[in-house]
């Protein structure tokens, strides 16, 4: 729907709401007050603790207030609200030459620029780039498969910012100290494959791998299996088998941070679905309210029923359009009644479709049943915590059982139980 639409830069909103927590880990601590004058790119919150990153203002203007505001995650978060005045130049770090820069400099710049993983989980990237010494990292894989159906922003980035993608990727490889890099791209994106192959010629070590188009090909564990044939064991991380996976948009952000000295001020996202008047691929300032983005795309059609931030499979349905775009926002999907399954739930048919569909070879129907009966230990035994919540089971279920919803609840309860046990021991 949006694959042939070029990226547009959306103009600044009159006010932006910048949440202090846009990443996994501890919330950042604000260093501005009501009335402070800030510039685009200036730091408004300092990191607290190790798994935390600084937050930058995306516009120049005045701080209106610091308050708990609605968030795209569905839970309100402390946010800095800034009135855009468009006064003054954007603040930047010093640009660096990508050939001369050292690994330490790259990692420090990535941390200062506040870059988080763009795949959805929003893990601070600088931590990913500095794996523990005892892990022997062999490969870095760049995810050029679109994370979810409907979204096209990674495709547009690969086409329009091919050079930035490749340079960003070479910076990642340098930072981690790895010689082998693979960009995995689904075979429905031939133009991107040709273009990236062309540029990658000048960068030794970067290989383009063409993969089958399917969901969830862009999920970390799937991507590793498709690219190098290794499987991540349950309960382990990709780095345990010598791999680090990053997203296309993250590579571009790293390029911009190092080569141009720009902190992450924009989120690249796709506004799509049958419910939006003009679908677009956009670069939106962090903190822009969803309402402004929707208005910029011509507004919502009358028959739209659901607005999802993220992809249609794993995204979060929204109830308040004053919630802002955050660093890891990859798309806004507006669905009409035909695109949403609202059929009532019926009893399990024992058809086994969910078991066939599960990319991680779990047994969704059994897991969901165990959670319903609160048998969390049994659920843990058949690896409920391995589930990545891709939603394929619920999508395939002919009986409309909310499988992934039950499993999510079970995962949370199992992790809590384990945490309590650890605290006791």
């Amino acid at each position: 729907m949006t694959q042939n639409l070029a990226l547009e830069i959306m103009p600044d909103s009159p006010t932006v709401t910048i949440p202090l927590s846009q990443h996994i880990g501890k919330q950042a601590k604000p260093i501005v007050q009501k009335g402070s004058v800030v510039k685009a790119g200036s730091v408004i919150a300092e990191p607290e603790g190790f798994v935390s990153i600084p937050i930058h203002s995306s516009v120049s203007g005045n701080v209106l207030k610091i308050h708990r505001e609605p968030n795209v995650s569905g839970f309100p978060k402390d946010s800095v609200i800034i009135k855009s005045e468009n006064n003054g130049e954007a603040e930047k770090y010093e640009p660096m030459d990508y050939n001369a820069v050292t690994p330490e400099e790259i990692i420090e710049r990535v941390r200062l620029a506040g870059i988080v993983g763009q795949g959805g989980a929003a893990f601070p990237t600088f931590i990913k780039l500095s794996p523990p010494k005892d892990k022997n990292i062999e490969y870095v894989i760049l995810n050029g498969c679109e994370c979810e159906p409907y979204l096209t922003r990674d495709y547009r980035l690969m086409l329009e910012k091919s050079r930035e993608v490749i340079i960003g990727f070479s910076l990642i490889m340098k930072a981690v100290g790895v010689k082998k890099g693979i960009i995995g791209i689904e075979d429905n994106k031939p133009e991107a494959i040709t273009k990236l192959k062309e540029i990658a010629k000048d960068f030794p070590g970067i290989k383009i791998e063409v993969l089958e188009t399917k969901y969830p090909q862009g999920a970390e564990k799937m991507l590793i299996k498709s690219c190098i044939g290794r499987e991540v064991p349950p309960g382990k991380l990709p780095m345990d088998i010598g791999v680090i996976v990053l997203n296309i948009a993250t590579a571009v952000a790293i390029h911009d941070a190092v080569v141009k000295g720009e902190p992450q001020l924009y989120a690249v996202l796709t506004v799509t679905g049958n419910g939006i008047v003009t679908p677009k691929n956009l670069m939106v300032k962090i903190g822009t309210p969803l309402q402004d983005v929707i208005d910029f795309c011509g507004g919502i059609k009358e028959d739209a029923v659901k607005v999802i931030v993220g992809g249609p499979m794993m995204g979060v349905a929204q109830f308040d359009f004053s919630a802002p775009v955050v660093k890891a926002t990859s798309g806004i999907v507006i669905l009409t009644k035909d695109e949403v399954n609202e059929h009532p739930e019926t009893p399990c048919l024992r058809c086994g479709k969910c078991i066939e569909a599960c990319p991680l070879n779990l047994i969704p129907t059994k897991l969901a049943r165990y959670v319903q009966l609160e048998k969390f230990e049994e659920a843990d035994k058949i690896e409920i915590t391995t589930c990545m919540e891709c939603g394929t089971c619920t999508f395939t279920c002919p009986a409309n059982i909310p499988l992934v919803q039950w499993i999510r609840l079970g995962k949370q309860r199992v992790l809590n139980l384990k945490k309590n046990q650890n605290d006791k021991n």
Binding site: G74, F75, A317, F319, E342, P402, Q405, R408, L409, R413
Partner: protein, 273 residues
């Protein structure tokens, strides 16, 4: 024909005799002598197997009682007479235990709490609703209305009312506390039955926000706390009762604009419960 009949009778009858003999021997040889007290104590227990005592069921609790591994007052469900009788049987002293009763400290039902612009599809369970954007109400502290407490109650003492809030039927409640454990928002608290003053709200939002999202919310204004001499305090935008120091006679209950602070058993037009 006749022969078949006799053969069948002989085989089946013979088999029956052999097994009966085996059973009779097993009964004598393998018998485990049970303390007769366990059976008697078990009969005095409620028999609901609710698990409120922490044991696997009533029989398990009876075994622990007889072995002296549990306290006579350990069962939160038992009435005072049964406790006394068990104590007599075991030759122990029963303490005068205080009956606990669950109090549902949220009044933000469908009529009071403002709903999100959203519909919920998925498992109808509070804890499942809680992880999806925190349920359908704008209040992130209040009752989710999924009825986990109703499902948890083995005595049918908890029901959902028309306002989609749980309601306690005190006559059926045994005080086992399973509802309080089931609530993911910790709205249900176990209190001694004679406690009468409660803040019926758990919302920590600032006054402006809490006023806008629920008619029954405690705003944290502090009107109740000002002259309470330490009986009430506002902590993090929420009124908290200090049961050691509270003196009902000096608390201005009528000053609570939302009616969150309530004294039970005192007629009040705003709080028909």
């Amino acid at each position: 024909m006749e022969l078949t009949f006799w053969i069948a009778l002989a085989t089946m009858g013979g088999l029956g005799l052999i097994f009966a003999g085996a059973l009779a021997i097993a009964d004598k040889k393998l018998r485990v002598k049970e303390n007769p007290l366990i059976g008697k104590v078990n009969e005095l227990l409620p028999g609901a197997n609710c698990g409120g005592c922490g044991s696997a069921g009533c029989y398990d609790f009876a075994v622990k009682l007889v072995e002296g591994k549990a306290s006579v007052n350990g069962c939160p469900v038992n009435d005072t007479d049964s406790v006394k009788n068990i104590a007599l049987l075991l030759g122990l002293d029963a303490d005068d235990s205080v009956r606990l009763i669950p109090r549902i400290l949220c009044r933000g039902g469908n009529n009071e709490a403002v709903q999100k612009m959203a519909e919920y599809f998925g498992p109808l369970s509070c804890s499942a609703m809680d992880i999806v954007s925190g349920g359908t109400k704008l209040c992130y502290y209040g009752c989710l209305g999924g009825g986990d407490c109703v499902k948890a109650c083995p005595f049918d003492a908890m029901v959902m009312n028309d306002n989609n809030l749980p309601e306690l039927i005190e006559e059926l409640c045994t005080g086992c506390g399973l509802c309080a454990k089931a609530c993911p928002r910790n709205i249900i608290e176990m209190h001694p039955k004679d406690r009468m003053i409660f803040v019926y709200c758990k919302n920590h939002d600032d006054p402006k926000t809490s006023k806008s999202i629920c008619k029954a919310a405690c705003l944290g204004c502090g009107a109740c706390a000002r002259k309470s001499e330490g009986g009430l305090a506002v902590i993090n935008n929420l009124g908290v009762v200090n049961y050691d120091r509270i003196n009902p006679d000096i608390i201005p209950f009528e000053k609570c604009s939302s009616g969150a602070l309530t004294r039970l058993n005192v007629p009040d037009s705003r709080n028909p419960s």
